[in-house]
């Protein structure tokens, strides 16, 4: 392509600085190391256990749902499968609000229990954290396992049917053995670095994740030494898990073509159909009810929104759009450069603790800038960084395909450097580029991470405003904010994704 190599090198350098450099900055700023206390080790234990249980439940429940989806056809099946991709771009705080409305102290479940004369259940602590993680990751697991089912050639089912052979042992078990470890590990990794869920539903000595412990160390005690040590522990945990995943192929969660159906000859007994539709109904209720509650309560709460919601919306949009631009620029540069260094550097944000990166950035900019003023710029950089692995995973294969198809024609015509990118590559990758932009924008819009560490009233984003409304028990106003946040996140995703599709020539 005859592109200069320095932009790629520069982005890799920035990635290293942001992930490893910030960790070093926090370590350097911490003047004395008192070591980790018992509470910190409890956090480590809690983090691993909750991630393990969350992954286990998500995958376990996903198996019957995926099987039902793979062998039953019904109206709305395609829509449901599309909907399974939605939790990825759903703001965590909105989902938590929806879950509280269903499973919380005054939620639907407890009202029903009370009506039946049973005692109430609480979803704060371990069960709440796991519940929220299953809510987010069950759909991902279903999509990954469904992919496995649909990858079994239809001829095999036909052959098994003609031989009267058991499909389960012959076809399904080997497929599950291949797919499940990767699905489990992906979700385990995601739950390992979870912050916003633990911040809202966890807390206390029994339900604190490492990320939350880092937040508390910085925010409450400004104990950078402990934050840095915890960050190193967190880094170690994710590196170990990521290294294991190096040997296990991680299945793809957001591929297309999942709405294909396969004709099956087994599983046609009435009770099997009932079981299948039972699982589908359960999954739909579990996913849809909280969102319905967000909408229902949100509409009622719109009038209670404080006037500070407007500047918060403005800030959130500005943060989301800027970080999307940064993220896509970096992804494009990395995808164009390709190679091993890019792969390693782009996986680093997955292992990094967003709170440590944020804290490190504050430490680094502190000599020049008031930390409170840096809250929004730091959030922008953080959000771009955290969305980068996902955007790159979508954009890089598209760039490679464009090159595989049109490199010779472009070379012959002397299309090189920037002209090549503008005339050939960018138009060819429009769809994934739009999709990647949608992901980055929605993730940033709903982010409640670093911003919670340092922002004051003047840097309040919409998720932070909503968190504070919840904290001060203004539930109606929080419901309104949740609805606005949900609408904006989905709208941003839709606009970008749509922008990539309109008038795109396949």
């Amino acid at each position: 392509m005859n592109l200069p190599r320095w932009p790629g090198a520069a982005v890799v350098a920035v990635l290293l600085l942001l992930t490893l450099g910030t960790l070093a900055a926090v370590l350097w700023r911490a003047d004395s190391f008192s070591g980790l206390g018992r509470a910190d080790w409890a956090a480590v234990r809690f983090t691993v256990i909750q991630a393990f249980v969350s992954a286990l439940l998500s995958v376990g429940f996903a198996i019957p749902v995926a099987r039902a989806l793979s062998r039953r056809r019904f109206i709305g099946r395609g829509l449901l499968i599309t909907l399974l991709g939605a939790p990825f771009i759903l703001p965590v705080i909105v989902a938590v609000f929806g879950l509280l409305a269903v499973f919380g102290r005054n939620g639907l479940l407890n009202e029903a229990l009370q009506w039946l004369g049973l005692s109430k259940v609480s979803i704060y602590g371990f069960s709440g954290v796991v519940l929220a993680h299953v809510f987010f990751n069950l759909p991902l697991a279903v999509r990954m396992i469904l992919q496995g089912w649909l990858a079994i050639p239809a001829e095999r089912f036909r052959l098994a049917a003609s031989l009267g052979a058991p499909v389960g042992v012959l076809l399904e078990r080997p497929m599950l053995r291949a797919v499940l470890p990767g699905a489990f590990l992906s979700i385990f990794l995601i739950c390992l670095t979870s912050f916003a869920v633990a911040l809202t539903l966890g807390g206390g000595p029994k339900a604190t994740t490492v990320e939350l412990a880092i937040y508390q160390a910085v925010r409450l005690d400004f104990a950078l030494d402990r934050a840095a040590l915890l960050a190193a522990v967190q880094f170690g945990l994710t590196i170990v898990a990521a290294t294991v995943s190096f040997w296990i192929a991680l299945p793809e969660g957001f591929g297309s073509g999942l709405d294909r159906e396969i004709t099956r000859w087994d599983g046609q007994k009435a009770w099997q159909k009932i079981v299948d539709f039972g699982f589908i109904t359960l999954a739909v209720l579990f996913l849809i009810l909280p969102l319905m509650m967000v909408i229902l309560r949100g509409v009622a709460g719109l009038s209670d929104l404080p006037s500070s919601v407007w500047p918060a919306i403005g800030r959130s949009l500005a943060v989301a759009l800027t970080s999307t631009a940064l993220c896509l620029l970096a992804s494009l540069v990395l995808a164009l450069r390709g190679g091993r260094a890019v792969n390693v550097a782009s996986a680093l944000p997955l292992a990094a603790s967003s709170l440590v990166v944020g804290t490190g950035l504050f430490v680094l900019v502190q000599p020049w800038m008031n930390p409170a003023k840096a809250a929004l710029p730091v959030t922008i950089v953080m959000n771009a960084l955290m969305a980068l692995p996902f955007a790159l995973r979508v954009i890089e294969p598209a760039v490679n395909k464009a090159e595989a198809d049109y490199a010779r024609l472009s070379d012959m015509l002397g299309l090189k450097g920037w002209a090549r990118v503008r005339i050939v590559i960018l138009p060819r990758i429009r769809r994934p580029f739009g999709f990647g932009a949608g992901l980055a924008a929605a993730l940033s819009m709903g982010d409640l991470g670093v911003i919670a560490l340092f922002a004051t009233e003047k840097q309040q984003t919409l998720p932070l405003l909503m968190y504070q409304l919840l904290g001060s028990y203004r539930n109606d106003a929080a419901a309104g904010a949740a609805l606005v946040l949900l609408g904006l996140s989905l709208a941003l995703f839709w606009l970008f994704d749509r922008g990539g599709r309109v008038d795109a020539d396949a």
């Binding site: 024609l409 070379d411 299309l415 005339i423 138009p427 429009r430």
Partner: protein, 229 residues
């Protein structure tokens, strides 16, 4: 004159040698079984594959060290000859340089009319038939105006009638006294109808080009085996 001087091409177990010249003002057909290295030979001429030894010369000057776009060569590939996201005019205009604005150059319209595509300037390739797409790609090769033209089975996806039509168009528009055209084909009929000379590729060796009529009137053993006669 295009000269392949003691050319050696190797790729894994694959080996191909060539030592010959192709006259300007002629269409030379390269025929041979698949896997014999017809396309690889073209890739060495247009600069996408590096030979192990030997030289490629045009009018006595080596062109080996030139980039694909700097060589006096234009190629019609087997597929992907047009960018699907650009209009026909923009696609053809790229022959003049790496700018989309060349699409409105009057020479583009001229070439499009030469291949019978007047009025199609603003369309994208998907809205053209297969034959029209081939014509558009041909218009770009015409506008590139390079002395060596390589046709790597570009019309193989077309039906026999359209293919004949395209090959006739190549002869009538593209063939000039100072231009050398190489046509890769696996169809002896294409070679018989459209080429002046034929070079047979087989047994790791490119045979020097022989006048087409002579070759088919008196086929050597190797050609008989290929044709199955």
């Amino acid at each position: 004159m295009l000269t392949l001087d003691a050319l050696e091409i190797t790729q894994g177990d694959f080996r191909l040698g060539a030592d010959m010249s192709f006259e300007a003002g002629q269409v030379t057909a390269l025929i041979g079984p698949s896997g014999a290295g017809k396309s690889t030979l073209l890739s060495v001429v247009n600069g996408f594959f590096r030979q192990t030894s030997g030289r490629v010369l045009w009018q006595g000057k080596a062109i080996d060290d030139l980039q694909p776009d700097e060589r006096p060569v234009a190629t019609l590939f087997q597929d992907n000859n047009l960018f699907p996201h650009l209009t026909i005019a923009q696609n053809v205009g790229l022959a003049l340089g790496p700018k989309l604005s060349f699409g409105s150059d009057p020479r583009v319209a001229e070439m499009l009319s030469a291949v019978g595509l007047t009025g199609m300037e603003g369309r994208k390739p998907a809205r053209l038939s297969g034959g029209q797409q081939s014509r558009a790609a041909l218009a770009r090769v015409l506008l590139m105006d390079r002395p060596i033209v390589l046709l790597d089975e570009p019309f193989s996806a077309l039906g026999p009638g359209l293919r004949t039509e395209m090959l006739d168009l190549v002869r009538s528009k593209l063939l000039t006294p100072d231009r050398c055209i190489l046509l890769v084909t696996h169809d002896p009929d294409d070679a018989r109808r459209s080429s002046d000379t034929v070079a047979l590729i087989d047994d790791s060796e490119v045979a020097p080009p022989v006048p087409t009529e002579e070759l088919f009137a008196n086929p050597p053993e190797r050609l008989k085996t290929y044709l199955g006669i």
